[in-house]
């Protein structure tokens, strides 16, 4: 499904601020894989997502999605097949536009000059009802009036409206309160399962990294240092993960946020 070959990226090369964010990353995802990614701050997790989504072009290497080389495809073009959610719930929807208008944008289809049809509105309503947040009765309200959790749930709906080939979740529940985070996570799981999506999720929660999905990557210094799947991943505990990190990196994992959660 997704293949990265020797992808590297250095920011501000040749200056004092030089930062090697990705170093020769190789990765291959099978269709339907649900990969959780963990790692300390600055390990390159979000940079990896940025490279896949096309926020920048890598210095070396190639990226292939579903047999198509997308290494130099512009971001907005990739966005048709890659759905993406960020930690900040405000990033995924336009606050001054109504729920209906936001969903219409996400649904795409039709010509540039077409209006949203009644049938589409009915479909939006149906999809919104799945969130179980009462949003289906507020379709004409501006998105700016929604809470962070509601907005993130809406963003999730928008990102998967047209099922993407790949869904990138960048700590998408980290800014939500625990109850809402759980709800959005459950929603994510059901949407990914129902649409058989290939999905990558960055999380700082090590136990949910092991619980969710079928594969776990650990990153450090712009490299994938651990790739756990199948039998090797079964029965692993958070303590095992920490020990493996230490063995691989030679120092303890020093991410309080990660350890405390």
């Amino acid at each position: 499904m997704l293949t990265l070959k020797n992808v590297s990226k250095t920011f501000n090369p040749g200056t004092v601020n030089e930062k090697t964010a990705l170093t020769g990353v190789d990765l291959h995802l099978e269709p339907g894989d649900f990969v959780s990614i963990i790692g300390a701050n600055g390990a390159g997790k979000s940079t990896l997502f940025n490279a896949i989504a096309g926020s920048f072009y890598p210095d070396t290497g190639s990226i292939t999605l579903d047999g198509q080389d997308i290494t130099f495809q512009p971001e907005f073009r990739r966005a048709r097949t890659i759905g993406r959610l960020f930690q900040d719930p405000m990033r995924g929807s336009a606050p001054g536009m109504t729920i209906e208008e936001n969903l219409a944008l996400a649904a795409g289809g039709g010509g540039w000059l077409s209006h949203v049809s009644k049938a589409e509105k009915a479909a939006f309503r149906e999809r919104l009802a799945l969130l179980d947040m009462g949003l289906e009765d507020r379709m004409r309200q501006p998105v700016g009036l929604l809470s962070g959790g509601q907005r993130q749930a809406l963003t999730l709906l928008m990102a998967t409206m047209v099922p993407p080939k790949l869904l990138l979740l960048d700590e998408h529940t980290a800014a939500l309160d625990p109850g809402t985070a759980e709800k959005v996570l459950a929603l994510t799981e059901s949407i990914v399962r129902d649409n058989k999506l290939t999905c990558m999720m960055i999380t700082h929660n090590m136990s949910s990294a092991l619980e969710l999905g079928n594969r776990t990557l650990m990153m450090d210094s712009g490299r994938i240092i651990l790739d756990l799947k199948g039998e090797a991943r079964q029965g692993l505990t958070v303590a095992d993960l920490l020990r493996m990190f230490k063995e691989n990196v030679g120092k303890a994992l020093d991410n309080d946020r990660m350890l405390l959660s």
Partner: protein, 309 residues
Amino acid sequence: MSLSSMWGLVQTALELGLTCGLTVLALFLSYSMLNVCDLSTDGCFTLGAAVGAVVAISGHPWLSIPAAMGAGMLSGFVTAVLQTRMGIESLLAGIIVNTGLYSINIAVMGKSSLLNMNKTQTVFTGLKALLKDTPLAGLQDLIIALIAVALVIVFLALFLRTRLGLAIRATGNNPDMVRSSSINPVFTTTVGLCIANAFTGLSGCLLAQSQKSVNIDIGSGMVTIALASLLIGQTFMGRGSIAKRAVGMVVGSVVFRLVYTIALRFNMPAFMLKLVSSVIVIAAIAGPYFKTQLPMLRRRLAGSGKREG
């Protein structure tokens, strides 16, 4: 003041308010929707006036309208290309285009800074002849401005609900979202600025023809006047559907001209127009800002009072 002279004042304010209301609607698209403060508006307004006048003088009064709109569109396209493809800040792009347009406008007007249309067939003289001896005689300026404004509002109300319209609004509303979405902000910004500047050109064309002359300064300060009108309009009808908000913008433009006309009656010199519009823009933008600062200011004042006591 007699009733007829009062109607005369209102009529002038309505004509000017509606004609320049087209520029306000252009800013409604570029400033309110796309979140781009298009500083090329002044030059583009003059460009529309100059191109429209030259085409009308050459004997094609009705062709002057599409010609002026086309010229405006081209100017908007250049502004858009500068800011989306050449890495020039959007404010600077507007200023650069505005400066360049000064030379272009004089060139269009045949190396002159003044064109006279006293004996020219314009869209207004055409309608004037038609309306002669009917109850609507003498209202040709008002009627044409009203039709143009109505058409533009209907267009905006329909257009901004299409997928392209929604994408343009999203580009202004949440650039972060658009950057990581399938919307190409280069495309939406370009289309938005082209359409907005077509309206600005139309506005200039109609004003010049109703005044029967074009001066190279006809558009100077227009962006501030239009912004003042837009902000006044927002306080009237800032919420609700696109159509309602667009109508509010035009109402704002008429109110601005009405207040200005009344001020002129009270012997305010005509050259004060631009200062008045600047003050209105400052008040309309700074007002809400100070309002948010007020509670904090009060607490600080109250707090310092207590400490001294």
